[in-house]
Amino acid sequence: MIAFENIIDFLSLKEANVRYVVLGTILLSIASSVIGCFALLRKRALIVDSISHSILPGVCMGFMISGTKDPLFLLGGAMLTGWLSIYFIDIITRYSKIKADTAIGLNLSVFFAVGILLLTIIQNSGNPNQSGLSDFLFGKAATMVESDLYTFGGMALLVISGVVLFYKQFVLVSFDMNFAKTIGLNIKFYEFILSILTVMAVAIGIQTVGVVLMAAMLITPAATARYWTDNLNKMLVIAALIGALSGIAGAFVSYSYENMPTGPWIVIVFSVIAMLSMVFAPKKGIVSKWLRQKRNSHKMMEDNILKAFYRLGEKEGDFYKKRTVEDLMNLRKFERNKLLTGLKWLSAENTIVHINNTYVLSKKGKAIGERIVKIHRLWELYLKIYLRVADDHVHDDAETIEHIITPELELLLEKQLDYPTEDPHHQKIPYSK
């Protein structure tokens, strides 16, 4: 177990080493989360996976050429092969019938194989400097020292400021290619810059989570942020926050356990946040979607019952007569149990009154029922006149739209149709005075 003092020690950032590690991981996580938002929104999430796997041979080549773990050589190699993999995917999908997903899978696995091959060659060569090279596989934030912070942190800052600087252009290139073309934006150039920044974010990020799991650093925070907002600005900030939080968690694991790889823990923290967001996020979360669905079906049931009351009243010329469950079921095919619950809801809302197994419409209930019937018939007429739908085809569509039309649209419909009195089936369209 982690001792409590351990946490205090860590959080106080007393030791210089811890400070470097925490600061470094936070910067790297923010850089990759921000870039990840663009990758996700441009539907390139899996290309990121290919880039991160392709970085391994580059790192090994950098090491083989320099003979040391000089970060500049390793990063140089990493960026070269990472960028090559984007290029290859592009070439393969453009010049052959091979689909994008196959091209991505092929690139990532073959590049990774070459990387592993080089890694084993280095290991078998017995170069004393090679220890720690395999940390690039699963990441080890705790190995970051002061000079690393300047190199990696500096590059992370470069990525972040690149996004801030070219924000407008990136947004246009990502979402509105046509507009970008018409205003004469150099699309190729900005796509290239974006891909370079992506490769850079991946290349420096492997320090923390390693090549195999790097994709999560870009994809998961972006996919999580998507649950909380539709606004790109907010999405970038939320993704960056999630990235920073998980970065701290990862640094802490690295600090507390000697041999624990950091990457998997950061990814687990990411995934937990992602799943919580997926379930509980307002508006887009599973729970809120389920509640909304429930509310909608609740409302539709109520509307349908009140409509049935109204139509019975219309038929017999008496809206306030006592009705039994059977009366309602004869008019419309309700499921008995659902009808009974619906009637209970309506009684609670005082739109109907329950008297010894019979039900009577209240004034309030009649008004609602009348409005639904009106919208239904207006819509049928609208479909007939404006969309030239046949008389016998208009009912089903009206049956769903009647629950959705807002009072504003209702007014518009009335005006557009010039306050008609009859629907296509020659039924009277009721107007409340």
Partner: protein, 292 residues
């Protein structure tokens, strides 16, 4: 080096390559290459849990563990996408990284109790097959790995031969397949289960990640050369076998991991065919222009 030693390793590699090549054809034609990639990563926790429960490489525990996690992966990808409303490509990325991360943590935490390490996860230990115990047949010791891989290959061949119509129709015309009463869903899960089983059986020899290269690369190379499914399957098996043989000698020559060398050779084959195709296209285009 001892000839028998070489033969055993090459045979093992070929068995993995052939079964993966066959399954891979269907994967890439169904645009499911990345789902295959995801499964091969995310069976890892299943394998580790099976090891912790006392399973050994190739035992039933492992098969069950891998199959369960393979199906969990497929299910989660579907669930996150349909119910969770997550973008499809992101779903694949999120699911496999989470499960793989979970697996790696298990490996690290229980490293002392479990007989696998991170290297094994990454690139397997193909050379170890030659020192394995086995059953004696025709006066020779045949390592258990080879026996297991042969059984798997037989199962896959049987599945493809017997279910060819179902696989073919659900791959190319799922709507038509559904109307004549072939269950598209059932074949989907059969295929996903075979991907997870072949991953777990190839796990000890080529590792969980490199098996993706075996699954995708030979079929992709074959797909460049033909449009016919049967030809594609045979061609990709051919590429798998030649890649394994060349890759083995390549690995000995440069003193690197055998499985990684084979996967690299498979990649080289793809590049050669791809470039060849491009050159051919250029040449034929010229002929067509002058012909006019």
């Amino acid at each position: 080096m001892d000839f028998k030693f070489e033969l055993i390793i090459i045979i093992t590699a070929c068995l993995v390559a052939v079964s993966s090549s066959i399954i891979g054809c269907f994967l890439i034609l169904r645009k499911m290459a990345m789902v295959g990639d995801a499964i091969s990563h995310s069976v890892l926790p299943g394998i580790v849990i099976a090891f912790m429960l006392g399973g050994k490489l190739g035992s039933w525990y492992l098969l069950v563990g891998a199959a369960v996690f393979g199906i969990i992966t497929t299910f989660l990808i579907e669930f996150f996408n349909k119910k969770g409303g997550m973008q499809h490509d992101a779903t694949i990325g999120v699911v496999f990284t989470s499960l793989f991360a979970f697996g790696i943590i298990l490996v690290t935490v229980y490293a002392r109790d479990v007989d696998i390490d991170q290297d094994c996860v990454l690139y397997g230990e193909l050379d170890h097959v030659a020192f394995e115990e086995g059953i004696t047949m025709f006066g020779q010791i045949i390592p258990y790995t080879i026996v297991r891989l042969s059984v798997m290959l037989l199962c896959i061949i049987t599945m493809v031969v017997m279910g060819y119509r179902g696989l073919f129709l659900t791959t190319f015309d799922p709507a038509y397949a559904a109307t004549i009463g072939i269950s598209v869903m059932a074949w989907h899960y059969v295929l996903m289960a075979s991907v997870s089983l072949s991953t777990v059986l190839s796990f000890g020899s080529v590792g969980a990640i490199l098996v993706v290269a075996f699954l995708i690369t030979p079929p992709a190379t074959a797909y460049l050369l033909t449009d016919k499914l049967k030809q594609m399957i045979f061609l990709s098996v051919g590429f798998g076998i030649t890649g394994s043989v060349i890759g083995y000698y390549f690995a000995t020559a440069i003193d690197g991991a055998t499985s990684a060398a084979i996967a690299s050779v498979l990649g080289m084959q793809f590049i050669l065919v791809f470039v060849g195709k491009m050159v051919e296209k250029k040449y034929f285009n010229k002929v067509a222009v002058t012909g006019e």
